[in-house]
Symmetry: C2
Subunit: 110 residues, 2 copies
DNA sequence: CCTATATATGAATGATTGTTCATATGATAA
DNA sequence: TTATCATATGAACAATCATTCATATATAGG
């Protein structure tokens, strides 16, 4: 008996797929959401902008750990920051963050 | 000079945060989207349900690798499957998958 | 029964990643 | 300047994870 064939299906699907580079960017973005610490940071920023040491205190984690994660979040353009004297305040970059997290919450609460 | 104080802010924010368990579930969900192979599989299933070997052929990866990833996707309830003789067809579980990926795409294309 | 095809799975491995620790930079006040 | 607070960063380590390989299960046909 012949092997399973799906050349027709494959050519259809291939045409619809974005470039590898774009898909890699997309999965990298979701990776940033894929960590409890970062999710907590984002959720905290829903309420208001916060300085690094406040976030560290809130999550009961070291300032260093938070700083490293904020760097990732900033690189992914999910947060922005502004300096005021010694302290640096971080805030949500835009509404996509809320919407993405909302959709995620909808999925797990079923 | 005194140390920076933010007890007021912290109590406000703490009240709004979901339970740790829920946030862990959420980050686990996004972790599943945080891999190029799995994103490609989901995107392929946008078009139509597909059997394991068709997906493997499409992504030019081994059947084993795809099968392992499908297991993760199924566990996260992002895909479902049905058996028809020897072949098993996988399909998107619901519309949240599309919406989450759409929001992600919107964010990176700016 | 035996063979072939399709899929699943456990163990091993190499790569990635989150946190810690030590330290560096930046900013303010005395 | 010196001291202190706030933040950033590089290196190291432990833990997690995606793929491969070998093998097991499942279904169909002869």
């Amino acid at each position: 008996m012949k092997k399973h064939d799906h050349t027709k299906l494959l050519s259809d699907v291939t045409g619809q797929m974005p470039a590898d580079e774009e898909l890699a960017e997309l999965s990298e973005l979701f990776s940033v959401f894929g960590d409890t610490t970062r999710i907590k940071i984002l959720w905290a920023l829903f309420e208001s902008e916060m300085c690094v040491c406040a976030i560290a205190e809130l999550l009961k984690m070291t300032q260093s750990a938070i700083s490293h994660q904020l760097k990732l979040l900033k690189h992914a353009k999910l947060v922005g920051c502004r300096r005021e004297g010694k302290t640096v305040y971080y805030y949500l970059a835009d509404d996509h963050v809320r919407r993405i997290i909302d959709q995620g919450m909808e999925h797990i609460s079923e």
